[in-house]
């Protein structure tokens, strides 16, 4: 009988410890929101709206990076892919109707899938390391973005910009947050709920074992980069939506921030581990922290130092939790 109860408590411990990160990220986020409210007593629904709006492109970038990293790769072209779709949207939509702009958005998503597929196929077939392939395609697409739009400009119909603006449901549930959740769920759930997810986690966790289990690693990797490309295109559209213009260099910020969001969100850079909730919340955190620093009146140059330090601390805490779990 003692055997059974031991197994039960083991199951409970396992349930909680397995979900430490999943529970930890929202807890950390709530703590940061409370801290913000302390720093800035006026913190209200308007700030929540601007937080969600500001985090929208980064959340998409984090989603793209997460998909690729889980499958065992890393995508250093995220920023450039976002830039291409951003400037393309801003230049094509400038004089378009709302309906036409939605059509353009769909085309851009398809282009993003194609860009991702190119990354994935190159990595899968040539066996050149991911870092090298995506760094170089990142250079190429960065150049293409400059060819499309040399300097910040362009625009989009007001109706398109308004999709993410304001808060129609409730003042505390901004439209930008709804867009974020809906779009990322639309990309992630088909992966997570189908065999594709299994392929991605398997090839990221142990490609040799996955191959011997019957997985075609090349297919898995190509799929991961393709979905990543779609998420990047969505990120570029979100950037157009939230800024109203196209900026060929604005994307560069997102490459490293997307990696940071994935890592903070509990995705292992070694592949095969992590989920989507963590990185999305991490994207919100990475947007909230600079806001807090502004509220505190800290020199933005210090802000970057503080933000970098916070990333390291959060990742260390995550690493410590994993370490403690594995010691057991």
């Amino acid at each position: 009988m003692t055997d059974v109860s031991a197994a039960d408590s083991g199951g409970l411990v396992r349930f909680v410890s397995r979900r430490t990160r999943l529970l930890g990220m929202p807890a950390l986020f709530v703590a940061c929101i409370l801290a913000t409210a302390l720093i800035h007593p006026d913190f209200g629904s308007f700030d929540v709206q601007s937080l969600a709006l500001g985090a929208l492109p980064l959340a998409m970038a984090a989603a793209a990076q997460t998909i690729v990293v889980i499958s065992g790769g890393i995508d250093l072209s995220v920023g450039s892919l976002i830039a291409v779709s951003n400037v393309l949207a801003a230049s094509l939509m400038q004089h378009a109707s709302f309906g036409a702009s939605l059509g353009i958005a769909v085309l851009i998503l398809i282009l993003g899938a194609a860009q991702g597929a190119i990354n994935g196929l190159t990595v899968a077939i040539s066996r050149i390391p991911d870092v090298v392939v995506t760094l170089t395609t990142g250079f190429i697409w960065g150049g293409v973005a400059l060819l499309i739009l040399e300097r910040p400009g362009g625009g989009a119909p007001a109706a398109f910009l308004n999709i993410a603006a304001g808060a129609d449901v409730s003042a505390w549930l901004p439209n930008a947050l709804i867009v974020m959740i809906v779009v990322i769920a639309a990309i992630w759930l088909p992966i997570k709920l189908s065999r594709i997810g299994l392929l991605l986690y398997a090839s990221g966790s142990d490609p040799v074992a996955a191959f011997r289990s019957g997985v075609d690693i090349r297919v898995a990797r190509t799929l991961a980069y393709t979905f990543g490309g779609i998420a990047c295109a969505a990120g570029g559209l979100a950037l157009t939506m939230t800024t109203g213009i196209g900026a060929p260099l604005a994307g560069t910020y997102y490459t490293l921030s997307s990696v940071a969001a994935a890592v903070i969100g509990g995705v292992s850079l070694a592949g095969g581990r992590g989920g989507m909730v963590g990185p999305v919340i991490a994207a919100l955190l990475l947007t909230l922290i600079p806001m807090d620093l502004v509220f505190l009146g800290i020199d933005p140059n210090y802000g970057q130092v503080i933000q970098g330090t916070l990333i390291v601390v959060v990742v260390m805490i995550g690493g410590f939790v994993t370490f403690m779990q594995e010691r057991k």
């Binding site: 299994l198 986690y201 398997a202 966790s205 142990d206 074992a209 191959f211 289990s213 019957g214």
Partner: protein
């Protein structure tokens, strides 16, 4: 010929090379329907390579594979599986971050069939929703086998499946193999344990240096198979009883003494001493505390209670480096835990030399080369593929894992199952090396999962059961029957009953 028509699998002249290393020159293998066929050979003879070619892990450079008389080339294990040819590879093909159930779905295997197979192997109590990485190695192997069985194979290839299994689990595998033979499946069985090959297999094909050198019925052919594996140089048992160091009760302090050592659930209070110049064997079934014992002595884990002393001095380790400094060095079960797979032999062997501060500063290249070359020569390491350790065969990797300590120096060598998955010839080299090391005054603590090794390599043996010592005997008395009784806790029970 009738025999040829009978063979369901017919391999002719298969060759494969990796860069400069020839893995297979010309391998032939004919397997009949409904037979258990042993594939034998020394390490690096090409057995695993052949298994991987048959199941489509990589293509052959030349040669033919005929299945049921038809020429076949599989481009992936998935294709081979569809044709009813399934392998359990030497290292489990189970993805660690997925649950067991997800692993089964990944391979498109039905869960009901898996459960049936798991029941036949006695592991039906494993929770399928657990992540594979939380499951111990031996159980994982049986799950891997269950998955293979669940896809209803015509030809099943088992590459050293019993190497990491304790005897009780290995017996279950044998029972299942016999059952599948009865159903008409063919099983290709790779193992270095001659006894199980003789008991289980109908015929054996022997490979040497990538060439098939013979086929024989296994009944009573053990000596013949060994001779075929080793070629002309017939190795005699390296250690005779006379060569053992007959120690008189020495007044010198024991080289290593352990008192009431306890650690976690596995190790519950173990005391013993190893004299200088002694090889002490440790025998146990799977998971009786031997991992914890070796990890504690090597400073990998911290014990919960008890004392470790070397030369009479009590020691406390915060880090494996402390143990190494005290002269206690570990050759771990998983050799890749100790080695740098992408670096050359030379760096691997030289690494521990630089673990000590006094050796920092510019590297004395001449001294390093001398020490490395001496260690490599003493162990007869095959240096053809010396530029990257991972390209060596398992046996040669194991030799490097030992050579690094020979080059660095030590007082007590802790060897955890050093001959797991290693061929007879290399095994004998390792026994005589351990003996040589002991004769020069060092001590050896040797855990082995192969019980006959205790008599071959040790002076004295202790047996662990349930985290405690359940038996101690001189090696001359340590026959398999006695060791097994102690390993199942039977001798201790007798002793208590008489006490």
């Amino acid at each position: 010929m009738a025999a040829e028509q009978d063979s369901i699998l017919d391999i002719r002249g298969v060759a494969k090379r990796f860069d400069s290393v020839v893995a297979l020159r010309s391998a032939d293998l004919k397997v009949r329907a409904g037979e258990v066929h042993a594939l034998m050979g020394a390490n690096g003879a090409g057995k695993s390579t052949l298994v991987k070619i048959i199941t489509g892990v990589f293509p052959a450079d030349s040669g033919d594979i005929l299945i049921g008389g038809e020429r076949k080339v599989f481009r992936s294990p998935a294709e081979a599986r569809q044709a009813g040819i399934v392998s359990v590879y030497q290292d489990p093909a189970i993805v660690p971050d997925l649950t067991v159930a997800q692993n089964m779905r990944l391979a498109r295997v039905g869960l009901d069939a898996v459960r049936t197979a798991m029941r036949s192997l006695g592991v039906e109590r494993v929770d399928l929703s657990r992540a594979a990485r939380e499951i111990d190695f031996a159980t994982l192997r049986l799950i891997d086998l269950s998955r293979a069985l669940a896809s209803n194979p015509r030809i099943l290839l088992l590459d050293e499946i019993t190497a990491a299994l304790p005897i009780d689990l290995a017996e279950r595998v044998f029972a299942v193999v016999r059952d599948w033979r009865k159903r008409g499946a063919s099983i290709i069985f790779i193992s270095h344990r001659m006894a199980e090959v003789a008991a289980l297999c109908d015929r054996a094909t022997v490979l040497r240096d990538g060439v098939t050198v013979g086929v024989t019925a296994t009944q009573g052919a053990e000596e013949k198979i060994v001779n075929m594996m080793l070629g002309t140089e017939v190795a005699k048992a390296a250690v005779s009883g006379a060569a053992r160091a007959k120690q008189t009760a020495s007044a010198a302090a024991p080289a290593l003494e352990v008192r009431d050592l306890a650690c976690g659930h596995g190790l519950r209070g173990v005391s013993f001493a190893v004299r200088p110049g002694e090889v002490l064997g440790v025998a146990a079934l799977e998971g009786q505390g031997q991992e914890e014992l070796f990890d504690c002595i090597a400073g990998v884990r911290r014990p919960d209670a008890g004392e470790i002393a070397a030369d009479g001095k009590p020691l406390r380790f915060r880090h494996p480096a402390d143990a190494v400094r005290a002269g206690l060095v570990l050759v771990p079960a998983n050799r890749l835990q100790a080695l740098l797979p992408q670096r050359p032999i030379r760096e691997n062997v030289a690494l521990p030399i630089f673990g000590r501060l006094k050796n920092w500063g510019p590297i004395a290249m001449k001294d390093e080369r001398r020490r490395v070359e001496e260690a490599v020569r003493r162990l007869q390491i095959d240096t053809r593929a010396s530029s990257e350790l991972k390209r060596l065969s398992g046996g040669n990797q194991q030799k490097v894992a030992i050579a690094r300590w020979l080059a660095a120096g030590f007082r007590v060598l802790l060897c955890f199952d050093p001959t797991r998955g290693i061929d007879v010839g290399t095994k004998r080299q390792i026994y005589s090396l351990l003996r040589e090391v002991a004769q020069q005054g060092a001590s050896v603590l040797l855990f082995t999962s192969e019980l006959p090794e205790i008599r071959l390599a040790c002076d004295r043996a202790i047996v662990l059961f349930g985290g405690r010592i359940s038996g101690e005997m001189p090696a001359d008395d340590a026959d398999e029957a006695r060791l097994l009784r102690a390993a199942h806790g039977l001798i201790a029970a007798d002793a208590e009953a008489t006490a």
